[in-house]
């Protein structure tokens, strides 16, 4: 099956270990691979603007400490430390407009 020639409009597509010849729509072909989220990375949950940055690299923070204030959909949202730790990296500046899913703060 896998060595056989197939028509150019078709691709190989596996379901339950069987290989089918079929058209794979771009929506499926181009979908992003799932990656396990890294809990040490604080990422933007919506596109928006960083209003305040309250920590810097090297700071030790307690759980619940204010990390930054983020404006999205006209709401000012305070992002707090999800756990105690040390800040490894600040990946944005106050005033930055960021897209959804961008790294903002990384813990060590």
């Amino acid at each position: 099956m896998s060595t056989e020639e197939i028509k150019p409009e078709y691709q190989r597509f596996v379901v339950d270990e069987s290989t089918y010849e079929t058209i794979i729509p771009s929506k499926i072909a181009n979908k992003k691979k799932w990656v396990r989220p890294n809990p040490k990375e604080i990422v933007s949950f919506l596109p928006g603007t960083i209003l305040e940055l309250n920590v810097k690299a090297g700071d030790a923070v307690k759980e619940g400490d204010k990390l930054l204030v983020f404006e999205a959909m006209k709401m000012h949202t305070t992002i707090n430390a999800p756990f105690a730790g040390t800040i490894k990296l600040i990946a944005a500046n106050a005033g930055d407009k960021v897209p959804k899913g961008q790294l903002l703060v990384e813990f060590e």
């Binding site: 339950d16 270990e17 290989t19 058209i23 499926i28 919506l46 596109p47």
Partner: protein, 514 residues
């Protein structure tokens, strides 16, 4: 003669209103490639069948300088007429009158024609071309939308409802089409979205055009909000007329019967499906080889193409077809294809249209994104829709019927009335490769040449289970038939199902997995 004078006055008054927004606004409408509201109605309905009502309705706004303004018909045309002799109620928003904006009286005209359609049990066609709420009328405008949505919902499943998007349809306005049965859109003319490009840009910083955000193609290919794509308004009207021939006037009637015709000789049913279950083909050719005059009217042709839905006729009667499409994604079920099929099944059931299911699928689409999008909830809609349907339901298993997909595609176990299978049919819990790997895991692992052993065991499994006879032996299949016999078996099954009765426990309504 006072009557003559009065008639002259009536004519003069009519003429004024029929000007709509005036020559300048009409020229602008035409420059956008759009017809006016009345031109559209006349193009769609049978010649001289249109009768207009509420021509002299005036708006009731008093604030923001609206007091002295005259708005012809308050920006919407309503009336009744016929399409191929069948009655329809229709409204068309008039963009030349204050952008077709919806105020209180505009909405009252729409709800009036909706009430007529519901009371007289005839299809409702709504032509949407409006800038949205009339801001000057404030909450009265919002009230108007709510009154329309309520009636769309009450009318659902009682009369067929058709929405035609021939201009902008934004914000709350989009929910009326979404509540109706079929949405028609035209390339470069239709625009539907909840929040437009400006808002998206100011809030999220994303730049996108109206066409890219909610144009005809987007709603036909990506969102599934629309059902029929046309390149021009004229083509769109032809599609609507054709749809009207397939559907009944209301839920207590059957669709009109047409002169039976044989399928065209060019579609040779025995030559379409390849023997190898891993090879693709276009399942629409199988439908064309079965239906009268090989005329298949596909619904949502561009969205979730791994399942095919649409109307055809068998011996003159309208049938709803649901078919796996091996040509796209091997015909798997996924979130979108389940939604697509489930809604169509519910339409057919509500309007007394028997359902024929053509089955050839390897199972469900695997993937994290599918699971996280809720393929459980979406897939369940199909089980619900089939199980709930009381119209005649017939399944033909053309080739593969594996696993959960086999159950979902109107299986005997969900009370299909008839299940037929072609000799190529393989009814099994999964494909032979996967099944052999599990059942013969030990033998394969311990063999001197595992690959050889796997091949052997796959063949063994195929020999034993990849056929229709295991299921037929249990009575899960009523008849194993030759492809050439399909049309005859279907027509007979439908004929003897005419008086089908299903008894169900009383309930207010079920709770389908939305």
């Amino acid at each position: 003669m006072p009557l003559k004078k009065k008639i002259l006055e009536l004519k003069k008054r009519k003429e004024e209103v029929l000007q709509g927004g005036g020559p300048q606004a009409i020229a602008k409408q035409q420059a956008m490639g759009k017809m006016t509201a009345r031109e559209r109605i006349l193009a769609l309905l049978d010649e001289s069948s249109f009768h207009e009502y509420d021509l002299f309705v005036e708006h009731s706004a008093r604030e923001f300088g609206m007091d002295g303004k005259v708005l012809a018909g308050d920006g919407v045309v309503i009336g009744t007429g016929t399409i191929f002799g069948s009655p329809v109620a229709i409204f068309a928003q008039d963009f030349t009158v204050m952008g077709g904006s919806l105020g209180l009286m505009h909405a009252r005209k729409i709800t009036k024609i909706m009430d007529y359609a519901i009371k007289m049990r005839m299809p409702l066609i709504g032509i949407n071309d409006s800038g949205g709420a009339r801001i000057q009328e404030g909450v009265n405008s919002l009230a108007g939308y709510g009154e329309i949505f309520y009636r769309n919902t009450i009318a659902s499943g009682v009369i067929p409802q058709i929405s035609v998007i021939l201009g902008p349809c934004a914000g709350g306005a989009v929910y009326s089409p979404a509540l109706t049965d079929f949405v028609f859109v035209v390339d470069n003319i239709s625009k539907m979205f909840i929040t437009g490009p400006e808002v998206i840009k100011s809030v999220l910083g994303e730049e996108i055009t109206q066409e890219e955000l909610g144009g005809a193609r987007v709603h036909c290919e990506t969102t599934g909000n629309a059902h029929f794509f046309a390149k021009s308004e004229a083509e769109c009207f032809e599609q609507i007329k054709k749809l009207i021939t397939y559907i009944p006037w209301n839920n207590s009637k059957k669709a009109l019967r047409f002169e039976p015709k044989h399928p065209k000789a060019q579609y040779k049913i025995e030559d379409i499906v390849p023997d190898n279950p891993n090879k693709p083909y276009d399942v629409r050719d199988v439908i064309r080889a079965i239906v009268d005059d090989s005329d298949f009217f596909e619904v949502q042709e561009l969205w979730a193409q791994n399942i095919v839905i649409g109307f055809g006729r068998l011996n003159g009667d309208t049938i709803g077809f649901v078919a796996n499409q091996p040509k796209v994604l091997a015909g798997v079920l996924d979130c979108d294809s389940s939604d697509k099929a489930a809604r169509f099944i519910r339409f057919c059931d509500a309007f007394n249209i028997p359902i024929v299911t053509l089955e050839d699928l390897p199972g469900y689409l695997p993937g994290v994104d599918q699971e996280h999008q809720g393929v459980i909830r979406h897939g369940a809609k199909m089980l619900y829709a089939y199980s709930e349907a009381t119209v005649p339901r017939i399944t033909v298993i053309l080739r593969k019927a594996y696993g959960g997909g086999y159950i979902a595609m109107n299986s005997r176990h969900m009370q299909a009335d008839f299940v037929f299978a072609w000799p190529l049919a393989e009814i099994a819990v999964m494909g032979p490769e996967g099944a052999a790997n599990i059942i013969f895991r030990k033998e394969i692992m311990e063999a001197e040449n595992p690959d050889e052993m796997r091949k052997l065991k796959v063949e063994e499994y195929k020999e034993k289970f990849a056929n229709p006879y295991v299921a037929a032996a249990k009575g899960y299949i009523d008849s194993v038939i030759e492809p050439q016999e399909t049309r005859r078996f279907l027509i007979h099954a439908l004929e003897i199902s005419l008086e089908k009765v299903v008894e169900r426990p009383a309930r207010k309504h079920g709770i389908p997995p939305f």
